[in-house]
């Protein structure tokens, strides 16, 4: 079976050198390591926001970057969804519009907004649809960013430290939301974190990073548990 993601790239930025190779299957893979290890840089390379110096990247077997053949598929053409550390929602658009703009699989404003509404419901943020991003709490912002990352029917979702700007209670709650929604959507995901507990709780596979190198890969066995019903990805009070 073709892996969801194949990465073998190198990139130098100043004195820092990233040189990594790994593959990602279905489920949620975590890039784990200390700050400055090159995890977020790897995500930017996968997303096509930065070009590597050498190497290749393939998403579901489709080569999106190959330096030797001068292939660099644009970010827009890679069919990825991305969740950033601080959400990076479009501040001049409503929450619903933010998610609807990412919907690519249907045409027509009404249809896109309907799909967006469904995703907001799945992350437990349907009541935020008409709000402006500036009025949201950190946890609410990340729920919306997660909905936006998944709403475009992506082939791969990238999450760059999505919980690191949140306080402990909200982080715990959003971990369940992120894992629940991603696993139920069936979209392979790569999440970056420097938090060991978070890596352990979220990942099916943990890829350890240190100083620009992959130092180990470990699968995490999880007890089979029933999927949460759609619309209730989290539990407790919504943040």
């Amino acid at each position: 079976m073709t892996p969801a993601l194949e990465v073998a790239v190198a990139r130098s930025i100043g004195e820092f050198e990233l040189d990594v190779a790994f593959t990602v299957e279905s489920g949620l893979s975590v890039l784990f390591g200390p700050s400055g290890a090159g995890k977020s840089l790897t995500l930017a390379l996968i997303a096509g926001l930065i070009r590597p110096d050498t190497g290749t990247i393939a998403i579901h077997g489709d080569v999106v970057t190959d330096c030797s053949r001068r292939i660099h598929v644009s970010t827009q053409q890679r069919r990825i969804g991305m969740v950033f550390q601080d959400g990076l929602l479009l501040p001049h658009r409503s929450v619903l519009d933010n998610v609807a703009l990412a919907v690519r699989q249907v045409r027509g404003r009404r249809e896109r907004r309907a799909v967006a509404g469904e995703w907001l419901q799945r992350v437990g943020a349907e009541e935020l649809a008409d709000r402006q991003p500036g009025s949201l709490s950190g946890g609410q912002r990340q729920r919306v960013a997660l909905a936006r990352g998944l709403a475009g029917d992506p082939a791969l979702v990238l999450l760059d430290e999505p919980l690191s700007a949140l306080d402990a209670a909200v982080r715990r709650e959003l971990r369940d939301v992120i894992r629940g929604v991603i696993i139920s959507s069936g979209v392979p995901a790569v999440l970056v974190t420097h938090d060991a507990e978070e890596a352990e709780e979220l990942g099916d596979v943990v890829i350890a990073y240190h100083d620009g190198r992959v130092t180990g890969t470990r699968s995490i066995e999880r007890p089979v548990r029933p999927e949460p019903p759609p619309g209730t990805p989290g539990s407790g009070e919504r943040t």
Binding site: F84, D86, L90, H92
Partner: protein
Amino acid sequence: MRRKRTYAQTLGGRHKAALLAVTALVGFGLGFGIAHLVAGSIAYWGVVSGPFLVSLRVAIPATVIAGITGVAAGYALAKGRFPGRSVLETLGSLPLILPPTVIGYYLLQVLSPGTRVGGFLTRVVGHVLVYNVIGCIIVATVAAFPFCMRAARAAIEGVDPGVEEAARTMGLPDWRVALQVTLPLARRGIASGLAIGSARALGEYGATLMVGGDIDGRTRTMSLAILDSFTTPERNTMILILVLMAISAMTGVGLLGRSRT
């Protein structure tokens, strides 16, 4: 519960009297100005209306053209790395620092049918470009362009590149990122450039005189008419109308920038 006090209530007696005096003076000045303007407009409308309409005919298209081209140039300067970038930046800013007479001279060289370039341009456009309203519009556009370009560039550079990257990951093509993300987020800065640019287009004088002439009813703008009528009583009305037009243009465009998209 303590009631909030007005600013006047917090002042002592002497200060209160001074504040009242200043308020009265400002109120009187405004009232007098408006009354004068209304009376003058009625009395001298026959003289004032021509330059007023010419000014509108010149300033509005000039602001629109300078706005579109200035924002496009500002975007290119903020985002692009291309050959000739510094040339564009320098040429685009020249009208800010050159005397209007020099701008007028060069525009005459480029537009006048008697010159090689001007003759070619006249043939291509099929219309003479000097001593008519088109020439005045070109001059006002050149005068307003640097303000629009520089303000747009600064505003676009101020937009968080992370938000633009996020938009790209959502699948939006670059042109949609520019139109739906970058420009709306930069709208306040762009609007302030347009506001100053429109006021500049309205007030352009020296180069307009050289390229447009001072033809009554055709190219005599308010700015030109004020000098022509400097010894006549209608000058005050014209000055007041021009000031109000500039303030209205700046306020109007400024409000547009503040509105939510």
